[in-house]
Symmetry: C2
Subunit: 214 residues, 2 copies
């Protein structure tokens, strides 16, 4: 399998953590998002959404959308599990995972920030304020959902990493870039610290990728 | 079970279709989004994200995030299935479902449009143009992924409705409200027409809900 990603992409980061946790070896390729390499015709032919990541299977089949890829990896490489066994627990983990994946990151990602700059003449600082607003809105909810829920453990759901943590951690990295005040989110911070002490998360972080830039 | 929704909410619409397809009877409650009823303290206590829908189980457990609810319904009420059996097919359906769910709707929903108006002083017409842009960007990709793929059938994946169709149809309704030129998307239109001829989709449409407004 080959993962086409980008060191700073939150969505690719989620998939890298899953691959590390499950011990799946893949070839890594990169598309430089700031240089627009994901817009090239050869990539659009693989992934018409022109977003990273894409997971190219050995038979040439291309999987897109990070959450769909995580579910695929869970179904084909079930150990260690990224979802609990009980349907209500699975629903909780997926709902937590969807807060960053659907309701934060897509609103504050590179393409939306670029559009705000080019279409509405917003400064870079204004686009940072935009990103902070949506991260804080989402983190307010995530914090409320994990703080004081007895199912929250060392990780977002219990004592082992789940899909929720895989989606939370890259969003916390983004929050750092946009100067979100993380003191408002003590439970998220605690879970993040737990995750980053885990080698599978640590090795997946942007700065440790071969295509990383300062 | 009780579904807390709103007639015009795309996310609630997805869940209503699933309930209809699977023949699951639930109580329906509504939170009027334009009047801000989802911001009330009693609703925030149920769903800290203050978004609809929420599915309240008989034991009081509250499930949030429409895709997480769809996966829960699929796991607890497997017939008829909303996902194919093969992992690659499941990944394709989930990726298609995530185009509207993660990469279109969250960027063009009510709260983002309100923020554009209040923060950047955008007119209603400008926010409509914003919404059209993100719907078209997503539909360009969805159309490319379904047109000419032999796995596309009467529906987005094969001859029966899947999670992809449940997420596509509400987005096509939104496209209509924002005057997207649907002639660019012949395959999406054909799938949409097939869906709307199915009673489970028809009965779930906004205009047919008890809380519908003209």
């Amino acid at each position: 399998m080959k993962l086409i990603g980008y060191f700073r992409s939150s969505a690719a980061f989620r998939v890298r953590i899953a691959l590390n946790l499950k011990g799946i070896e893949v070839e890594h390729a990169t598309r430089h998002l700031r240089r627009g390499e994901h817009q090239a015709a050869d990539y659009a032919a693989l992934n018409p959404q022109k977003l990273v990541p894409a997971l190219v299977l050995d038979d040439g089949e291309v999987l897109t959308q990070s959450l769909a890829i995580l579910e695929y990896l869970e179904e084909t490489h079930p150990a260690p599990p990224l979802l609990p066994r009980d349907p209500v627990g699975r629903a909780r983990v997926r709902a937590l995972a969807l807060i960053p994946t659907a309701d934060i990151h897509p609103i504050q990602n590179l393409r939306v920030m670029s559009y705000l700059r080019s279409k509405y003449g917003q400064s870079e600082e204004a686009t940072f304020a935009w990103s902070r607003h949506w991260i804080e809105t989402g983190f307010d909810a995530y914090e409320a959902m994990v703080a004081g829920d007895r199912r929250t453990g060392a990780f977002s759901h219990g004592a082992e990493p789940s899909m929720a943590d895989l989606c939370l951690v890259p969003q916390v990295f983004n929050a750092g870039r946009f100067k979100v005040d993380m003191s408002r989110y003590p439970t998220i911070r605690r879970i993040f610290d737990t995750c980053m002490n885990h080698p599978a998360f640590d090795a997946a972080q942007p700065a440790k990728q071969p295509d990383a830039e300062p």
